[in-house]
Amino acid sequence: MNAFSNLMMGFSVALAPANLLLAFLGSAIGTLIGVLPGIGPSAGAALLIPLTFTMEPTGAIIMLTALFYGTQYGGTITSVLLNVPGEAASAITCLDGHAMAKQGRAGTALSLAAIGSFMGGLFATLCLVVAAIPLTKMALQFGPVESFALLTVGLSLMMGLAGKSIIKALMMGVLGLLLAMVGLDPVRGMPRFTFDRLELMDGIGFIPIIMGIFGLAEVLSNAEDGFGTMKLAKMSSLFPTKQDLKDSVGPIARGSLIGTGLGLIPGMTGSAASFLSYIAEKKASRTPEKFGTGMVQGVVGPETANNAHANGALIPLFTLGIPSSPTVAVIMGAFMMHGLIPGPFLFQEHPDIAWGVIASFVIGNLMLLILNLPLIGIWVKILKIPYGLLFAIILAFMIIGSYSVNNSVFEIGIMVVFGIVSYFLRKMDFPMAPLVLTLILGPQMERSLRQSLEISQGSFAIFIETPLSAVLFAIAAVILIAPAFKSLRKGKNSISGEST
């Protein structure tokens, strides 16, 4: 009840006209940053910080946090319309989102994504209000050992992304892990597979890779059919049907849980949340084979999850003053530059600011929903541009996007190489999703594995001796073995079916 009255006080702060305006500004700029590929939420927030020096701290932080979760809305738009992920966490949305756009259901995909994002953000904010402390305590159970076990579960789910051939999916998964090895060894400090290129010391850039894999490869295969207009079904209504909404309930619930949960655990990124949610949807579906052909669930789930993650990641910041992702670290910097130290003391010393900012999450998410729904009608008009022109625009867009990650031409090269390679891989029916999944999970997995072994001084027993990790490994084992039993049983059924 106490939390509730505090929240009401927060609303009175967040609803002040100036703060409303700043929440709106942050949301709008965030959407724009999400739409522009390359500039991620952390760079966006960082560039905006100097502008906030003259503002009231509450307003400044409301704006920056709104920008942060606003990017999750914007990133979807280019994923769905152009198959170019505007933001890493929206990469997986390309699979079914763009397929929906081709069926003339771009409006439905975008509005469902916006609704999902809103629900996800709302859920994570509720968690922050109601159960921040116990949730943080739970998240602190995840040290390197448990994180490695959790990531192993994530990796074992890779099968869920396999298309027709499991072998091909595995090959792509391993390729992703190999690519994740490029860069400075996290424990020995030796450069690995860098070919003396300084640009590769920190690993291959993730954004250029996904832009190449999804965006450029798509452009190339469309170009095969000449430069007419994109082959689209007639655009249907912008708004989801009753059936679509019904189909979205489950994904929103699961996406909210997955996103908020992973947001709490340090080191787990928004892209991991959206990928795992996609896999969860595929597992939960009665028609998993239809994923990739424009399933509503494949859009709503991940989009809910990445926004729940964005808001969930702020929970450890408020409870412990721990930034769990680079973007949250930037927001923490903003707090500090305004003379505020995020953490439990914030609630005691500046309850108006702490609760005001939290209440603004609800308002900001609502604004984003209102801001995004009417804009969908405008966004989908992009698809009416003749493909020959659109092709050039997308290309320019991706080149600027890759360059702006590190202000480096090298990243453009990465984008082009991966685009061309994955164009051919797609021709040979290699699925790209397993590669992206291992590329996301790989670096964090390696770090937590090696940290665990540093803690245990090289003994692998630590993974079994730690109860939580043992349980997670058991789950991973079940996930890997279960399909074998299932196919065995199916085999029996079909035999018995034939005999009667």
Partner: protein
């Protein structure tokens, strides 16, 4: 309509790029800085990093001080080595300067694996700007009450006391190696190569015995009584934790900090170096700059070009000696 929008965007970007390329005047030695000219500040880390935040504050101050436009540009990658390489090769005309971080600037050319194409000779140092002294912290319920306790435990049972670093060859890592060398203790390092912030949660969750970081990393946790800071690696107590003794007070002559300053390419005329350095000093003396930096938990410490250069040499000697140990 949207086509026009995107098109205009591309044009604007191209124009912006051209402007940046053309703006550098070719002969500028005579009257530096030329009125209305712009000076580039290259930042070796990404937008939003600690280095970036400090550098942008300095840029804002210098703009007022020198009456020029300072254009901060992030050139992140390879622990700043990409930017150092570019800076070493840039023209020394006073229109480009860059951030310098210890120990990354020093390790990159001392460690043969890093294959740097520059050494200290390629830079002309301007001023040290910010230091953030190292700290070691434990949880409040930890059996280690003092630095002495922790070190004794790591000595009695080598490689059993786990301790975080913010990555191999970070300032924390070198500080710990020096502490080991000094005391004969042996810690079990757990490297968090993505930075001190990523080590905080596992430490707070009790997965790791002790945390090495910098003063600014534990402001919130210290305030909430969630950590016990055992010592600060500086010659004087920090104003942020006046109750925490220094290492020196506890008998360990260890001084270490993350520290950031600025440099121009070698060959920049001495007059320009001095003018830039003096302007930086003025910025650091201004109360508004001080407030912003101190709110972040950081300490301002100005060193003149000569003092900074001496500091670099001392730091480099340390790094040279400890480098083989860091790879064990």
């Amino acid at each position: 309509m949207n086509f026009n929008k995107s098109n205009r965007f591309v044009m604007t970007m191209t124009l912006a790029a051209l402007t940046v390329l053309c703006i550098n005047p070719l002969s500028a030695q005579t009257a530096w800085p030329k009125k209305g000219s712009s000076v580039q500040l290259w930042i070796g880390y990404a937008a939003g990093s600690g280095t970036d935040a400090g550098a942008r504050l300095m840029a804002a101050g210098l703009e007022k001080e020198l009456g020029v436009t300072i254009v901060p540009m992030n050139k992140p990658g390879a622990s700043s080595q990409i930017m150092y390489t570019a800076l070493a090769g840039a023209k020394g005309d006073g229109y480009v300067f860059g951030t310098i971080n210890f120990p990354s600037a020093i390790i990159s050319y001392i460690d043969p694996d890093r294959k740097a194409v520059y050494t200290k000779k390629n830079f002309s140092l301007l001023a040290l700007h910010i230091i953030d002294p190292g700290i070691i912290a434990v949880l409040p319920d930890s059996p280690y009450k003092t630095l002495g306790d922790l070190i004794a435990a790591a000595k009695a049972n080598p490689k059993t006391v786990t301790i975080t670093t913010s990555g191999i060859q970070s300032d924390e890592h070198f500080a710990l190696l020096q502490l080991e060398e000094m005391t004969g203790a042996k810690f079990a390092f757990v490297h968090f190569s993505t930075g001190a912030a990523s080590a905080m949660a596992p430490f707070m969750g009790g997965k790791i015995d002790a945390y090495t970081g910098n003063v600014a990393d534990v402001l919130a946790q210290h305030k909430a009584g969630q950590v016990r800071i055992l010592g600060v690696m500086d010659s004087e107590r920090t104003r942020f934790y006046p109750d925490v003794p220094t290492f020196e007070e506890q008998g360990f002559k260890l001084y270490n900090s993350a520290n950031r300053g600025f440099a121009v390419p070698a060959g920049t005329p001495k007059a320009i170096v001095n003018k830039l350095s003096a302007a930086m000093k003025k910025v650091m003396d201004s109360p508004e700059h001080q407030k912003l930096v101190e709110d972040m938990g950081l300490t301002l410490r100005y060193l003149s070009p000569e003092q900074y250069s001496k500091f670099w040499d001392e730091y480099a000697d340390n790094v040279k000696r400890l480098l083989p140990l860091s790879k064990e």
